[in-house]
Amino acid sequence: MQVMTFHRLSASALTGIAFAGFAAMYLVGYFVHDWLVPRTLVMLAWIVIFGVLAWLRLDETAREAHKFAWFYGAGVGLMLALIAAMLVIWAPGSWEALAAQVATFFGPAVVDMPPALAGVIVGLMACAIAQVIGYGLVWCGWWARRR
């Protein structure tokens, strides 16, 4: 019975479960600093499993929107992140305050790291965030044009 109910879940519901679970685990990690690597692996496994299940339930139009958003949105987002990285190299002093602010977003675990290591984490996460923002904007634009 439970399996049948699970099979009826739509792609939207599965995507919601993927992000809700990911966000919940992220919030737990913000306050509980132990088991960082295993927790991160569980978060990634969670989002991959539910992401794949959601993808399998999408029709071709929805998949096309995601592929388009990934190529153009996330691609441009990553390029902008790399341009930002060059600006940091060009004028490092002016970015320190912003980097410190961004580091607090990822919790005390990152803030307490050695600055170089925290910088790497913040840089990687900034790339991911830029991709997600670009992805989201282009995905919304794709559907807005086809409504």
Partner: protein, 63 residues
């Protein structure tokens, strides 16, 4: 590519949601195809063709 999907659907008194269910796609997809803002893949075009019992070229034409 333009198509006669809206006309064919109207002739059968099907809603977009009903057609979407018969084809196994979302209503958004049907809307995007009907308005010419999305060209379906060949497998979906074949499914549409089989559902309406018409050749693909009767339903879809080049602009």
């Amino acid at each position: 590519v333009k198509n006669k999907l809206k006309v064919l659907r109207a002739e059968r008194n099907w809603s977009q949601a009903e057609l979407a269910e018969r084809l196994g796609v979302s209503r958004n997809s049907i809307n995007a195809i009907e308005t010419g803002r999305y060209d379906p893949s060949l497998p979906l075009a074949f499914s549409i063709s089989e559902l309406f019992g018409m050749p693909i070229e009767t339903i879809f034409q080049r602009n």
